[in-house]
Amino acid sequence: MSRDDLRNRKQRTNRQWLIAPALMLVSGCAQVSALRPQGSLANQRPAFAQNIPAPSVPAQAVALQSASAETNAARPMIGGAVLASARLPRACPPAAACLPAQNCPPVAACPELCNGPAAAYWNDQEYLYDGGDRDPRVELTKDRTVNGLDPQDTIAHYETVDGKLCVAATNRVPIYAPRFGAVRKVAAPVLSARAVGAERMTDPRGPLVKQSRDLPGDVLQPLGPKNQAAVKLIDGLHGRIRGVPNEKIDALVNVSNLQVAFQQLNALGSAVKREDLEALLGEYLVNARTWANVDEIAIMIGGVAAAEVRDAKQLQDVTLYETEPGKCSLRICKAASHSAAQPGDIVQFSIRFDNVGAKPLQNIVILDSLTTRLEYIDGSQICELSLSSNKQAEVSKSVRFSTAENEAGSTVLKWDIDQPLATGDSGVITFRCRVR
């Protein structure tokens, strides 16, 4: 092989060595670019938005879907868009399968009759909660420092005669109080086109007027009708105009109980009041007053609406007393005057505590950390003790009330009860809050 041939061969080899790594680099970059998403996710316009095909609602979507497969952690999909903070509604469980107080749905959302196939749904985001003890649980140190008191928590910590420190939480009280906000975006055209109302109304050159406003690219409206052309819901719902619950539920519920009472009386064939119907009449009257009174107090104990039993002959009640020594025996519960409230309404809360044990309790402290949307009304709190011993005169001096700010922008209410609570003694605290 000549020297020129050898030189040419070396040059070819060197070129190959240059091309090979270059090809390697290019292939690696292509691999990387393939992994990078095409364009920005936030600014992508879906393909269906260009032509807006007529959406077809599946037949099975018309019927109410069972929420058994839905969980609170799942999020609804809207055309592939997962709304981050939205939660799926939960179906009301049967009354017999109701979980403990903290997990029960509000009674107002899921009344006792919530067992049929068209069960109601409820959503946590629409409720205010106050009371109970959320995780992490409240813990008490030896120097009686409270840790873990979160907004919405209402607890009482006290000491038994044996020196045992106990913490008791109230039930959780829900109040339906949705609040709304708005996100606004204004897109103005580059050339400001002032609309003269008189000209627009009398000028027959309508299309020209609209054409001058075609400049901004953000304004897209003409394809809306296509979107609605194939929606069959309108035809299918003509017959439902009469049966809309929004139109009739209020009146129906208000009238039903009264009609039943009158029907019962009419069935007797006479207007003579019988003694065995007195209890029934009493119940109907209470129902009528309850349903006619928009501000009736709702009482919930253990997540279930309290039922009133009336018997003209004999009062029967069962009270459970825990008599084991050294056991935490303070029972505390909470109630609200409203089950639903608008922003600005005033709600009255009541906290009742009882010593259901055999030993007195001392150094009782009740703490109520209000949630963000509840604003305590200064001077509205009242604490009264019902003592078996004749110490009523000293009660006013033995209860100290104080307030402090919490991390949620609301208030922590604190009642220090120095008066020991003997067996059977009780107390009631009432205070008012404004719904923000």
Binding site: W17, P21, G28, S192, L233
Partner: protein
Amino acid sequence: MRSPFSNWSRSLRAAIVLSCFLAGTPAASAQTAAIARLPKVTYLNSADAAPGVVGADRLTHGGPVVGFFQPVEVSGPEKVEIALAHEGRFLPPLPAPVKVGMLVGSVYRLRVTNIPLRPGEELYPTIEVIDRLYAPRGREHRFPIPVVLEREDLLQALDGAMVVRVIYLEDSQVASPSADEPGSQRVTDVAGTDNALQVADQLGRPMAILRIGSRVPTNLQNDLSGFLYNCPPWLPLPPVPTQAGLVNAGLMAPSPVAQDANTMPQDANALRRQTLPSEPRLPVN
């Protein structure tokens, strides 16, 4: 001409090739990791989409929103009048606020007249309801979605701007501690390049989209089915009864216990007794 690589040894060339081959691998892995850190949500829908797109998507996923008439209350500045559409025509205007039940997923066109400081001018905004509330039974009409037509928004629309408001339900767990003024609505302004629907979803649950533009029909006597988005049905809602109104109308007897919630009860003991039942006490020896 001699190549600059001609004097390099074969092992050095192999090392260069191998390093080039491996150069893309860390970059690719870093990119993959970066992609893995991206949020798991994809906002394909935007408030800038045509009216009806977002609502139609919501309906396709079914649930208790299909066929539900969600109460909506449209309010505006003083003396503003709002006209609803029915069977292809606008009805006589009503003074604001107007409360009706609107189908979830449908688009409703309104006519707004008697705008302050702009006599004779009118606007035709649209309301698209994209979700519903789950109010207690029998009280749905007491908790409508508030759609507020602010005076500034109306004036900007008359000046040629396109105003989009996404009304969202605030999450009570992360609510703001400030109170709202009665009749007003807290507003978050976003830039023109932002997705208002995405921002509303981060603040709560989007419920409705209000779009106010300056587009007007050329002739109200023509067929307006397209302009009215096929004129979906709506339901009038009864007024919310108040205790004072019922007592004044003679439909309810004044009750000494059921006092106004804003007034302090005269007898706190009586109220407390009726709030919680008393418990019998054990005999004390």
